[in-house]
C-alpha cells in the first residue's frame, strides 16, 4: 500500500445522478482509519446516497471510491467488506437473533463451530447473549439496533456505515441511544461513517463532520471548528440551535473608522478593518453573523467588545428550563438571544446589546462564503 496507509476510504470527484437529477456532485473525501465521521445535512442533500455508493448499493455516475488505496467503484457490495446499518435496521424478521448474526457467515461458508464462536463473541460484546434465541420481530427498538450493528460486525468489516440509525427512537431515548452508540464506537474502535440530519447527533458523535448541501460538500471539519468557523452561509445557518443571527449589512468606511450598517443600525468594526478589506474584493454587501449565545448586554467598556448603535428591545421571552430564548428588536432588525434561565426580562424592556468582537462572522452576500 503506497501513500498514506491510514487513509481507509477515499472518494474522488464522486457524482451521482438519478434520472437527470443530481444527488451528489464532485465529492472528495478521505476517511481515516478508526475515525467516526458524520455526514450531516438536510434531507435530500445526498448524504445517504454517498453512503450507499461507499457500500456499493449504488453505482456512481462518475468519480471513484477507494478502499485502502484499491479502487472499488464497481465492485459489488458483497466483495467490499463493509457493514451497513440501515435506518430501519432491516433485520431478517423471520429469523432469530442468532440466525440474523450467523447469516453472513453461513453465506460465506464459514465452519459451523467458528460461526458459533463468532456469533457468541459479538453477541456478548453488544449485550445480546440473553436474546440470542428470540425472534427478531419481537425485540424492542434499542435491541434491534444492537442486533443490526452486531450482524454487520460479525463479518469483521473494514468500516461500519450507519444510515440514521436513531431515527425510530422517541426524543428522550434518542439521546440515551446516542450515548450508547458513542460508547460502542470507542469500545469497538471501528471506523464508522454515520449519516444524520440531526446536528446534535453529529456534534456529539463525530470526530469530524461532513456538512452536505445539495449534493456538495459544504464543509468538512471537526464539530468545534464547524461551529466556530462555519465556511459559508449554509453551514452558519444550519449548525447551531437556535440558528445564528444573520443580518444583511453594508460595509462602510468613515475616515479611519469602519462600520457595518443597516438602515440606522451601525456596528463599529474598526479593529477588523484590514482583515475585512483584504477579503472584500470590492464588495460591500455582507452578511453579519452572530450566534444567539454570544450576545451580551452592555454597557461595554472592556477591550474587544462591540456594541450595536441602537438599544435592543425585548419583543418576546421564551423560557426553557435552563435558559431563555429572547426575541429582540434593534431598530427593525429581529435578533435572537440566549440567556441563562435565572435572568429575568420583561417585554418592552430595552438595553444596549453587544458581543465579543472575535465572535463575529462575516459572509459575502453573493458568494455566501465566509470572509472572517
Amino acid at each position: 500500500m503506497a501513500g498514506q496507509p491510514n487513509i481507509l476510504i477515499r472518494l474522488e470527484r464522486l457524482r451521482k445522478e438519478f434520472n437527470g437529477v443530481i444527488a451528489v456532485e464532485g465529492l472528495d473525501l478521505e476517511v481515516t482509519e478508526g475515525e467516526f465521521l458524520c455526514f450531516l445535512g438536510p434531507s435530500g442533500c445526498g448524504k445517504t446516497t454517498t453512503l450507499r455508493m461507499i457500500a456499493g448499493l449504488e453505482t456512481p455516475t462518475a468519480g471513484d471510491v477507494y478502499l485502502r488505496g484499491r479502487r472499488i467503484t464497481h465492485l459489488p457490495p458483497q466483495q467490499r467488506n463493509v457493514g451497513f446499518v440501515f435506518q430501519n435496521y432491516a433485520l431478517f424478521w423471520h429469523m432469530t437473533v442468532y440466525e440474523n448474526l450467523a447469516f453472513g457467515l453461513r453465506v460465506r461458508k464459514v465452519d459451523p463451530a467458528e460461526i458459533d464462536r463468532k456469533v457468541k463473541e459479538v453477541a456478548a460484546n453488544l449485550e445480546l447473549t440473553d436474546v440470542l434465541h428470540e425472534r427478531a420481530r419481537r425485540l424492542d427498538l434499542s435491541t434491534m439496533q444492537r442486533v443490526a450493528m452486531a450482524r454487520t460486525l460479525v463479518t469483521d468489516p473494514e468500516v461500519l456505515l450507519l444510515d440514521e440509525p436513531l431515527n425510530n427512537f422517541r426524543p428522550g431515548l434518542r439521546e440515551a441511544m446516542r450515548g450508547e452508540l458513542k460508547r460502542w464506537q470507542m469500545h469497538l474502535g471501528r471506523t464508522m461513517i454515520y449519516v444524520t440530519h440531526d446536528q446534535e447527533e453529529a456534534m456529539t458523535l463525530g470526530d469530524r463532520i461532513l456538512v452536505m448541501n445539495a449534493g456538495r460538500c459544504a464543509q468538512l471539519d471537526t464539530p468545534r471548528h464547524i461551529y466556530e468557523h462555519p465556511a459559508n452561509l449554509f453551514v452558519a445557518s444550519f449548525i447551531g440551535r437556535p440558528p445564528m443571527n444573520l443580518i444583511d449589512v453594508q460595509y462602510t468606511v468613515e475616515g479611519e473608522r469602519a462600520f457595518l450598517v443597516r438602515d440606522s443600525l451601525r456596528l463599529e468594526v474598526t479593529p477588523l478593518r484590514d482583515k475585512i478589506e483584504r477579503a472584500l474584493g470590492g464588495q460591500t454587501n455582507l452578511v453579519l453573523g452572530i450566534r444567539p449565545e454570544h450576545l451580551s448586554f452592555g454597557p461595554f467598556s472592556e477591550e474587544g467588545w462591540v456594541q450595536f448603535s441602537l438599544p435592543a428591545v425585548v419583543d418576546l421571552v421564551q423560557p426553557l428550563a435552563r435558559k431563555k430564548f429572547l426575541d429582540l428588536k434593534i431598530g427593525d432588525t429581529l435578533i435572537k438571544m440566549v440567556v441563562p434561565g435565572t435572568a429575568s426580562f420583561r417585554q418592552g424592556e430595552s438595553f444596549p446589546l453587544g458581543f465579543p468582537l472575535h465572535r463575529i462572522h462575516l459572509f459575502h452576500r453573493t458568494t455566501e462564503e465566509a470572509i472572517l
Binding site: 457500500a55 456499493g56 448499493l57 459489488p76 457490495p77 458483497q78 463493509v82 457493514g83 451497513f84 440501515f86 435506518q87 430501519n88 435496521y89 432491516a90 433485520l91 431478517f92 424478521w93 423471520h94 447469516f103 453472513g104 453465506v107 460465506r108 420481530r137 434491534m144 450482524r151 454487520t152 463479518t155 425510530n168
Partner: protein
C-alpha cells in the same frame, strides 16, 4: 352515565343485527344446499319449502358414489352419470398442481417485475390482458391446439390451462406482498454476501409466506370451481367436479339432491385448505413492523 349505557347497548345491538344479517346472507345458500342434499326427491322442489328435511336421507350422497344403488329412489334417474370418484380424483390432481405451478411462476415473475423491472413497466399489465377476454375467447383456438397435441380430455390440458389462466392473478397478488418487503432487508442480505437466489429463497420467500398462502388459496378456489374450460376440454376421462355437477342435469330433469350433495362434498377440500392456510394468512400481514 345511563345514557351512555343505553347508546352502548343500542350500538352493540345494531352490530349484532348487522352481523346476523351478514351471516344469514352468507350462510343461507349453504344451509339450503345442505338441506336439499338431505332431502328425498319429492321434497326437492316441494311447496312450501322446508329448511329442515321432513324425511332426511343420505341417498343423495350414496348415489354420488354408486349411481346404480337403488337407495332412496333416485338411482334410475342418475345411473347415466359416472361415480364422482373419477371427477374427485381429477380435481384433486389437476387443481393442486395447477395452483402450485401458478403461484410459483407468479411469485418468481412478480419478484422479477418488482425488483428488477423485468420486461419493463408494462409487462404486468400485459400479463393481465389474459384476464381481460372472456375465457371462452381462448377456448376455441386452444381446442384446436390441444386436439393437434392429442391433449383433449386429459388432466395435463387442464393443468396447463389453469396454470396459464391464473398466473396473472398470482403475479398481481404477489406484487403487493413483495413490495411490502423492505428493500433494505434484501440489501442487508446482499451486503452479507448472499447471491440473488439466496436472497430470494432465504429472505424474501419466508417473508412473503403469508402472501403466498393467500394467493394459493385464492387461485385454488378459482381452479376448483372452474367450469367452462373443463366442460369444453373434457368429456369423460378428465372431468372435474364442476363438470360432474352439470351431469346431474339430464334429459329427464334436474337432480337437485345429488347436485347439492356433490356441492357439499366438493366444498370439503376447500374448507380444509382454508383452515390449514389460515394460520399463515395472519402472520402474512404483520411483518411490516417498522415504518419505511
Amino acid at each position: 352515565m345511563r345514557k351512555t349505557n343505553w347508546s352502548q347497548a343500542l350500538g352493540s345491538g345494531i352490530r349484532w343485527l348487522i352481523g346476523l344479517l351478514i351471516c344469514i346472507v352468507v350462510m343461507l345458500p349453504i344451509t339450503w344446499v345442505l338441506s336439499i342434499s338431505l332431502k328425498p326427491p319429492e321434497e326437492w322442489v316441494a311447496y312450501p319449502p322446508t329448511l329442515v328435511p321432513i324425511e332426511p336421507t343420505f341417498s343423495n350422497y350414496i348415489v354420488l358414489f354408486q349411481p346404480g344403488n337403488p337407495v332412496g329412489g333416485v338411482s334410475e334417474m342418475v345411473s347415466a352419470a359416472q361415480p364422482v370418484t373419477r371427477a374427485f380424483v381429477n380435481s384433486l390432481i389437476v387443481v393442486p398442481i395447477a395452483t402450485a405451478a401458478s403461484v410459483l411462476i407468479g411469485f418468481l415473475a412478480s419478484y422479477a417485475t418488482v425488483r428488477f423491472q423485468a420486461g419493463g413497466a408494462t409487462l404486468p399489465l400485459f400479463v393481465l390482458t389474459t384476464r381481460m377476454f372472456p375465457p371462452v375467447a381462448f377456448a376455441v383456438p386452444l381446442l384446436v391446439y390441444f386436439r393437434m397435441l392429442n391433449l383433449i380430455d386429459t388432466q395435463l390440458a387442464l393443468i396447463l390451462m389453469y396454470t396459464g389462466f391464473t398466473i396473472a392473478f398470482s403475479l398481481w397478488m404477489m406484487r403487493g406482498f413483495i413490495e411490502g418487503v423492505p428493500r433494505h432487508v434484501e440489501e442487508a442480505a446482499i451486503l452479507d454476501g448472499a447471491s440473488p437466489w439466496r436472497v430470494l429463497l432465504t429472505i424474501t420467500l419466508p417473508l412473503v409466506r403469508g402472501g403466498l398462502a393467500a394467493t394459493g388459496l385464492f387461485v385454488f378456489i378459482l381452479n376448483w370451481t372452474e367450469f367452462l374450460l373443463a366442460q369444453v376440454f373434457t368429456s369423460r376421462e378428465a372431468i372435474t367436479i364442476p363438470v360432474q355437477v352439470s351431469h346431474y342435469v339430464g334429459a329427464v330433469g334436474r337432480f337437485y339432491g345429488p347436485m347439492a350433495a356433490l356441492g357439499i362434498v366438493a366444498s370439503i377440500p376447500v374448507v380444509v385448505a382454508g383452515y390449514i392456510i389460515q394460520r399463515y394468512l395472519v402472520t402474512g400481514f404483520t411483518f411490516g413492523l417498522v415504518r419505511e
